[in-house]
């Protein structure tokens, strides 16, 4: 019983800190706004002297309170019986502690604010309006009381709900849930048919492609730009996928090759600073080739290193290139901190092909090409060699694989893809500068590959959609995007280190009888 209580108190404490943190970063207000968009109750009449925004905030806090209670009432693995009593007391205690912490904060913040202390000098999101919202428009003491009562209640309810709904580790259960969703999808007769028969597969791909081609014509310029960006990140993700997913080399400086492609396109087609105004179609392959070459050069000294060392060194390379492109010393060559403007655009049969829609098509084409190349490589001697290297490098050498050459190959091909992405990116944006090529780009691409699913193509696409598409949808959360991204990386590693869509294994031994492939998950060794 005591252990239960301690667990519940801990839970309440953890959630208390989380809620306090959320308030301090101003998220309680943002959540309220999100909910008001969701429930469309912005102009509703006040309820119990609470305006809609306050109500929404309370709903948000209530949800957290429920969760706190549910978490706090969890029984430990060793207990066999699970009486309602313990669950309810657990929920209640957790809610109480949660509420206590939050109400103390409300009291403190409210009193200080009343005294005229400008808290936002130190905590920039704790503005007077935010404080007022948090206190639901009441005095500090009253607001604090509201919190403690409300959160204790919701904690209790949370305990009640969780006991009613079912137990088990959330991680295991959610993982199992996701797996069963994937299973269900793959068991659907349609999917079976598609997977089994080659012809059906082509038809389906054809239809998908057609849809994808028609989409940009209907979507507005903003969405086309977003789709284009997602497309470029798919490109980059596929390229990095070869390096990280297939060959197992963690490259944190991938943006360097992106930059080479972008700057090559920029410097060869723009009027400044070199007065070359070459055609887009000439600059593009040059950019790709230069990026590949840089991959070889950068890779040669570096690929013998241990995994984490390789990561840091590549990060160093990326930063070196960024700093150099930004430096004044090299401005005559690179355009310096202000970048390069008026980058050339592609032409089709003499006419400019550079509208938003046109670029989306171009990027699609590039993505298709890359998918084609990746697929061919993956299912060849080279792809197997890469996979073997990733599994066990020492033994793969004994298979006759020259690991150095193969790693260089992977690195160079990955770099080439990044160069392609960079060139397209620069041309589309008509402008590029050093700040387009910072570390976060590398990390974003790494996240796309890893969050999406290492070593497989649908995973990368899913990753790009999630990481680049989703934030555009939830634009209100713009300020929190990067922080959430960081937390997401941690959560993904804890929950699904193999990625959202783990690699499926091809069947090579069995004669093709249309049997479904079952997705195999890579488990931790």
């Amino acid at each position: 019983m005591k252990k239960q209580l301690r667990h519940a108190v801990n839970a309440g404490g953890i959630f208390g800190i989380i809620t306090i943190f959320l308030f301090l970063i101003g998220f309680t207000g943002t959540a309220a706004d999100l909910f008001s968009d969701l429930f469309r109750n912005k102009n509703a009449a006040p309820f119990l002297s609470l305006n809609p925004q306050m109500l929404n905030m309370l709903i948000f806090l209530g949800l957290i309170g429920l969760w706190a209670g549910a978490y706090g009432s969890r029984k430990s693995k060793s207990q066999t019986n699970d009486p309602w009593g313990t669950a309810l007391i657990g929920g209640l205690t957790a809610g109480l502690v949660h509420g206590l912490l939050v109400s103390c904060l409300a009291l403190l913040v409210g009193t200080l604010s009343l005294r005229g202390v400008r808290i936002n000098v130190y905590l920039s999101e704790v503005l007077p309006d935010a404080i007022k919202l948090f206190l639901v428009g009441k005095s500090p003491l009253q607001g604090a009381t509201v919190h403690i009562v409300f959160l204790t209640l919701t904690g209790f309810l949370g305990g009640l709900l969780s006991r009613g709904v079912g137990r088990g580790s959330w991680r295991v259960r959610s993982g199992a849930a996701w797996n069963s969703i994937l299973e269900k999808i793959s068991q659907q007769s349609i999917v079976k048919q598609v997977r089994g028969s080659r012809n059906t597969r082509y038809v389906v791909y054809g239809i998908l492609l057609l849809l994808v081609f028609l989409l940009p014509l209907r979507a507005g310029p903003y969405w086309n730009y977003t789709i284009g960006t997602v497309g470029i990140y798919v490109l980059l993700g596929l390229g990095l996928n070869i390096v990280v997913g297939l060959a197992g080399l963690l490259d944190l400086g991938y943006v360097a090759f992106f930059a080479i492609g972008a700057y090559t396109m920029a410097l060869l087609t723009a009027p400044q600073p070199h007065h070359l105004m070459w055609s887009f179609w000439i600059a593009l392959p040059i950019g790709v080739l230069l990026a590949a070459l840089t991959g070889l050069l950068l890779g040669a000294p570096v690929l013998r290193m241990r995994g984490d060392y390789l990561a840091i060194v590549t990060l160093g390379f990326g930063e070196i290139i960024r700093i150099l492109s930004k430096s004044d010393a090299l401005t005559p060559f690179t355009g310096g901190p202000s970048g390069v403007k008026a980058i050339g655009f592609p032409t089709l049969f003499g006419k400019p092909f550079n509208s938003g829609v046109d670029f989306v098509y171009l990027i699609f084409l590039a993505v298709l090409l890359i998918i084609f190349v990746t697929n061919r490589l993956q299912n060849s001697r080279v792809g197997r060699a890469w996979e073997a290297m990733r599994e066990d490098e020492t033994v793969s050498r004994a298979m006759g694989i020259n690991t150095l050459t193969q790693k260089l190959l992977a690195f160079a091909i990955g770099a080439a893809f990044a160069g392609l992405g960079g060139a397209l990116f620069a041309s589309r944006n008509v402008f590029t500068g050093p700040e387009d090529h910072n570390l976060m780009v590398s990390i974003n691409v790494v996240a796309v590959v890893i969050v999406g699913g290492m070593g497989n193509i649908p995973g990368v696409i899913a990753g790009a959609l999630m990481l680049k598409g989703l934030p555009e949808v939830l634009r209100q959360l713009e300020d929190y995007r990067v922080m959430v991204f960081g937390a997401l990386l941690i959560v993904m590693m804890l929950w699904r280190p193999a990625g959202m869509i783990p690699s499926a294994r091809r069947k090579m031994d069995v004669i093709d009888t249309g049997v479904t492939e079952t997705p195999q998950e890579e488990s931790k060794p």
């Binding site: 840091i312 922080m483 997401l488």
Partner: protein, 366 residues
Amino acid sequence: MPNVKPPARRVTTYKIVQGIIGVVLAGYLIWRLFVVFIANPSYGPDTWARFAIAGLILGSVYALVAIGYTLVYGILRMINFAHGDIMMIGAFGGYFVFEALKSIPTPTLADPELTFLNAHPALSVIAAFIVGVSIAALSGYFLEKIAYRPLRGAPRLVPLISAIGASIFLENAAQLLFGAQRRDYANPIVLTRGEGWGIPIGGSNVILTYTGMLTVVISTLIMIALYLLVMHTRLGRSMRAVSENKQVAALMGIDVDGVISRTFIISGALAGAAGVMWGIHLGLVYHFVGFIPGIKAFTAAVLGGIGNIPGAMIGGLFLGLVESLGPAGLGINFQLKDVIAFGILVLVLIFRPTGIIGEVLTEEKV
């Protein structure tokens, strides 16, 4: 037994490439040094002295952070990417202490505007250190507990990504909490930045700043204390045992999880102290302040041989000096001083990954 000559060493293309790079770089260095020192000397000994002193001070801060990296790498074989951000947390901790003490009025007849900060500077500094170090140590503890411990058995890539995520999270959480603006450390008046004892060198007055001296002294004391801890206490022995072989240490009755936690606490404390000193001496504190020093400190740790504590200290000092003297010495722009640090990192990892002093960890066997 017939007398056989030893087999020829493998002359791989790799070694040829290394050789070429080495020659090119050496040539560049010699050329630049020639230009700066012989062909076109523009700095007098006083300027060099200033650079050197700044480098030493910077180096002692890097050394502290580097030791933190090396401790964690030795024990877990992972790079704690978020270590620089722990330093940032410590820096913020000290900042808030100074801000709080700055607003406590302790007026006297002589000085009606006196604040606690200026009335009791020693106490204030100690308080700043205590708070900064504690918060950073706590953060290190929770960081390990949340983001690293559950991933203990996973392949190398996974905890590294988690560490990157933690770093990004911490930086941006700090930005959301405290805003993006760069904040000034409010030093007590006796410790105003830039003031110190003047030493005449080469014709002008080279200043040994109070803040700088404080930094060097405190760093040295901490490093000595740490070395004693690791070499002569039970905890230190346990730490060394766990870094050699986790399983065997567990079999010997060592609480491996506890040792790892304590290592992170110590490492965090070191970073926190470094953060406070960074704030006092360099003055600027903001959410991103830990990122580049973190990478540089890692460079220093690698320089000295990762896993090797005295090596990390020497590596830190060396890196600080090179970074300070480098741009002037090579006659290149000061903007590029980070390039020097990154360049050293890359070069060391290419040419001598075991570090200048030599690595303490064992390699994989077939």
